[in-house]
Symmetry: C2
Subunit: 219 residues, 2 copies
């Protein structure tokens, strides 16, 4: 890794990609952030991503991915369900495939070769396109597709939520988390009750830090 | 390969994908065709693709890929240039990456596991995402992205244009070529003078067959 090259962070406005942005600033001389408007129910994510990019003083660009509709709980009003042994209803087939492919073309056009994404295989969800094996294969495919030496960085791949909080504390940007969006209900202050809020709060508790994000009820 | 499974042919309306469609009908019990509207200059390609799908009696679905603009000679009015040692100006970074990814999600949603594409590495162009190494890596990536056993078939990968014509003659659907579109100028009858028309005509000449496509001037 070189401090003299540019990195492009896939910034959703969530806790993980916010941590990745802080990490990238310690690794690359120039950092850019890229968001996707793909019909997600909660546009607040991208508004918060812009605020986080502003805190980090990096350019933030939003690309629209509206090329086809994938009915699922993130883009439509389908109840969030996560039965054991089944993929959660928030699963979009191949979502990271499209995010990374699009980010790679954007990076290619801007002469950037490092892509940073907050995917993580240690979490509860079991999305196939968050695994290390997928990322490794995706990197090979992107390099072959464009004859370009992309490197995909996944600093959170083997971290627990608590580890991610500890990493952010070490990076010294814990205050950025006040702007990051996690709540599945799309609420700000966050609901504190949905599975995403509960998972986030558990990570802070385990790491021994207080979440700076405002919640509707005192935790 | 099984006659009892379904295959999805990426059908552009050109000579190669038309041949793939004829090939797929000999390999799979059910065949479906998929086209992409991605801002190509000549919409005539998709009109011809529909006619070819009708001849083959297969359902044809068009997906729109307008998620970002890639300035190049196929979508914009840039002069077609192919200097030796350089990628041609018709190169869209990662185009087959998006076509195959999108086709895979469509196939996943329709319980189809075989994808058929007319990419070919023996031709003149040198597009990186037409090579066998890319297709093999792409197949791995798609399987990992969705935990689904996709198989990408490339029956023309190592065929010359003349070989492709011979294959179509053997498959007995040479008349479909009268509907296939090749001309870079977007003309029908075809101009017979642009690099694409000249390459097509050379293939027929080498194979010893007459192209059933109407041309503006007698060849």
């Amino acid at each position: 890794m070189s401090l003299y090259e540019s990195g492009l962070v896939l910034l959703s406005g969530g806790q993980d990609s916010t941590t990745c942005l802080a990490w990238a600033l310690t690794q690359f001389k120039s950092v850019f952030a890229l968001g996707f408007s793909y019909g997600q129910r909660h546009h607040i994510e991208l508004q918060q991503a812009q605020k986080i990019a502003d805190l980090a003083r990096v350019p933030f660009h939003i690309l629209t991915l509206d090329f086809f509709s994938i009915p699922n709980a993130l883009t439509h009003d389908i109840p969030i369900d996560h039965s054991p042994g089944q993929l959660p209803s928030t699963f979009v087939p191949g979502r990271n495939l499209f995010f990374l492919s699009t980010a790679a073309v954007f990076a290619y056009q801007h002469h950037i070769s490092h892509l940073i994404t907050g995917v993580c295989e240690t979490d509860y969800s079991g999305y196939p396109d968050c695994r290390s094996a997928f990322i490794s294969s995706m990197q090979d495919t992107l390099n072959l597709a464009m004859d370009y030496a992309f490197k995909i960085h996944t600093p959170l791949m083997h971290l627990s939520k608590a580890d991610t909080v500890r990493l952010m504390a070490k990076l010294g940007n814990m205050d950025w988390y006040a702007q990051s969006h996690t709540c599945y209900e799309g609420k700000r202050p966050a609901c504190g009750k949905c599975p995403a809020c509960l998972l986030r709060l558990k990570g802070f508790q385990e790491a021994g830090y207080k979440d700076p994000l405002p919640y509707q009820t005192m935790m």
